[in-house]
């Protein structure tokens, strides 16, 4: 069982909208999700951070009731998604990893028709669709065909569509993968507004910056298991140092330089293209490297990130 986070504990018993205990999904002998447990209180932005194939999307599908779990318990708004799929999904907005907009319909019609799937009346849907088009900055595209939209526009339309039923929980599977930086920032801004309005966000990502920007709390998943759980800041505090010194000595030297750097900083990580020195004070560590007469090709001092947490926990990079 996960423990309630501090803010929820302060207001008494937290209202969990999602609870998973020993959630497991097997495909034959392979466990895509291997006994994970977590709880999400209402209004939280909760992240699943991990590399491709970690089991993030499978977990999302089980929450949406479109993939049946092998074992464990799962409750969404107190309902079992395997037993009450349509009822559970009435509470959800889903942004799948790949856009599945209705290409045969125009932009605004996509929103109207999707709302009808939830059994919502047209008198509600028409003003709501216009409002969401505004929100997604697509008002002038209302009558366009879907395939005329750019990748970022399609993504925003998919998010607008997922909001048509005013969901309490929004599931976002890799929401910004494949988008250019500007489109990502627009999306983050929209998601942040939703969070401010009290929508619970469940987000999978393999971008650490995205997780740091958006998530109150996250679990780091790898090979179907939870490696760590906490807020981005607390995970960095717990599993990494304040700063990191990145050194590049050229691909030949990187592998052998380790012994000569022994004792600098708290920990050393050797990657194929660079050496990472974890230290409270990166500049001081760099001075010590120079003092030992070592001359890296490039050097960079930066703050620790979730990438470093993941590296520490699994020995691998998030994006490779």
């Amino acid at each position: 069982m996960s423990t309630p986070n501090s803010s929820a504990a302060a207001t008494g018993a937290p209202q969990y909208v999602i609870t998973a205990e020993n959630l497991t999904k097997r495909y034959g002998d392979v466990a895509a999700v291997d006994g994970i447990s977590f709880s999400v209180p209402a209004g939280e932005a909760f992240g699943l951070l991990g590399p491709n194939g970690a089991g993030k999307s499978t977990t999302m599908k089980m929450i949406g009731g479109v993939s049946q779990r092998t074992s464990g318990t799962l409750r969404i708004m107190g309902l079992d998604p395997d037993q009450n799929g349509p009822e559970v999904r009435a509470h959800l907005g889903v942004v799948p990893q790949q856009d599945n907009l209705d290409e045969e319909l125009k932009v605004r019609d996509n929103l109207l028709v999707y709302g009808r799937y939830f059994g919502l009346p047209m008198s509600y849907l028409k003003p709501k669709a216009d409002e969401l088009l505004e929100f997604a900055q697509l008002t002038d595209k209302a009558k366009s065909k879907v395939d005329a939209l750019s990748g970022g526009m399609k993504r925003r339309l998919t998010i607008a569509r997922s909001l048509i039923n005013e969901p309490r929980i929004l599931l976002l599977d890799e929401p910004t993968t494949g988008l250019d930086p500007q489109a990502r920032h627009i999306l983050w801004d929209r998601l942040f507004r939703l969070k401010e309005q009290g929508v619970t966000l469940i987000l999978t990502t393999h971008y650490m910056d995205e997780a740091e920007q958006l998530c109150d709390r996250l679990i780091v998943v790898d090979k179907g298991k939870i490696m760590a759980e906490g807020s981005p800041a607390s995970l960095i505090r717990e599993y990494s140092t304040r700063e990191v010194l990145e050194l590049r000595f050229g691909s030949e030297r990187n592998a052998t330089i380790g012994a000569e750097l022994e004792g600098i900083g708290e920990r050393l990580e050797t990657l194929p293209d660079r050496v990472l020195i974890y230290a409270h004070d990166g500049e001081a560590a760099l001075e010590e490297v120079s003092a030992r007469g070592l001359r890296p090709v490039t050097s960079l001092v930066r703050r620790s990130s979730l990438e470093d947490v993941f590296l520490r926990l699994t020995g691998r990079s998030l994006v490779d």
Binding site: K61, G64, G65, V66, S67, Q68, D82, Q83, N84, G85, P86, E87, R89, A90, H91, L92, V94, P96, Q98, N100, L101, D102, E103, E104, L105, K106, D109, V113, Y114, R116, Y117, F118, G119, L120, P121, Y124, K128, E131, L132, E134, F135, Q137, L163, N165, E166, P167, R168, R193, L194, Q197, G198, V199
Partner: protein
């Protein structure tokens, strides 16, 4: 950059609150009409030529075979023993074929595309729709097309003077029954198809069924074992049913033909719903 005025946050509208609190089982949310509405909206922008060709195909057969070949054949024995023109003999059979083609086109090729390329059903099943809503909605759309083809073809028969009894108007609902049988099964079968090559197998089954199901000549020309085989096929029952209705002659066999389709419909809907559940709610 404007904020959402009323806010998409939780429970700001009573209708969304009501939509959240509806209760239903894992397969069906009583919302078939949303799937139908979507289909009609999409049809507005779809290719009308494809739809029209499905209507004209049997009409062309009727003209070439009925009028052309009919001039050589003369009159033949219809159901109940009366002499009817060759065109009047094959017209109800072609109507059955027309109903089959319309239903099969919608429930196979259209569904195949939506399933594998447009990912339409994945999107639908992430809402509060259940697989039974989706299956029933798609089948209904196929029936609507079948109804349009049947009505058009019956009108052509009337114009050609091939309708001799008021009973013939019942060919339209009967054609819809035939379409229902094919549509419900077609969608279930399509769910097994993964490639375009496999989809060609459907044509490979349909064409011989069209040619040999006593469409152009009576079943009695075949040796007994082949007769049995043809009688096991769905189209033969449709051809016989409509042929009987076209002249207003009803026998106990009429009930068998109708029963055949009723069973086909039930099995087809069960198959399709089960397959959609298996494919999309893994």
């Amino acid at each position: 950059m404007s904020a959402v005025t009323t806010g998409p946050g939780p429970a700001s509208h009573s209708v969304t609150e009501a939509a959240r609190n509806r209760h239903f089982g894992p397969l069906y949310s009583r919302n078939v009409r949303a799937v139908i509405a979507r289909g009609l909206m999409a049809t507005k922008s779809s290719n009308w030529m494809v739809m029209l060709s499905g209507f004209f195909e049997p009409v062309l057969y009727l003209i070439s075979m009925g009028v052309g070949l009919g001039a050589i054949v003369g009159s033949v024995q219809g159901p109940g023993g009366g002499e009817i023109s060759y065109a009047a003999y094959i017209a109800p059979a072609l109507l059955a074929v027309s109903a089959m083609n319309g239903a099969v086109y919608d429930s196979t090729w259209n569904v195949f595309f939506k399933m594998n390329f447009a990912k339409l059903y994945q999107g639908m099943l992430y809402t509060s729709l259940g697989p039974l809503d989706v299956a029933m909605g798609e089948i209904f759309l196929a029936l609507l097309r079948g109804l349009m083809y049947a009505t058009g073809f019956t009108a052509v028969m009337g114009l050609m003077g091939l309708i001799t009894t008021p009973w013939a108007i019942l060919m339209i609902p009967a054609a819809v029954l035939i379409a229902f049988g094919f549509a419900s099964f077609g969608m279930g079968i399509t769910s097994y198809m993964k490639t375009f090559q496999q989809m060609d197998w459907i044509n490979f089954v349909m064409l011989p069924m069209f040619l040999f199901s006593a469409t152009f000549y009576p079943l009695s020309v075949y040796p007994q074992p082949i007769q049995w085989f043809i009688q096991a096929m769905p189209l033969w029952h449709g051809v016989e049913l409509l042929r009987q209705i076209s002249v207003g002659v009803f026998t106990p066999a009429t009930a068998v033909h109708i029963g055949y389709y009723l069973v086909m419909i039930v099995l087809g809907v069960l198959l399709t719903t089960g397959r959609l559940r298996k494919l999309f709610l893994k």
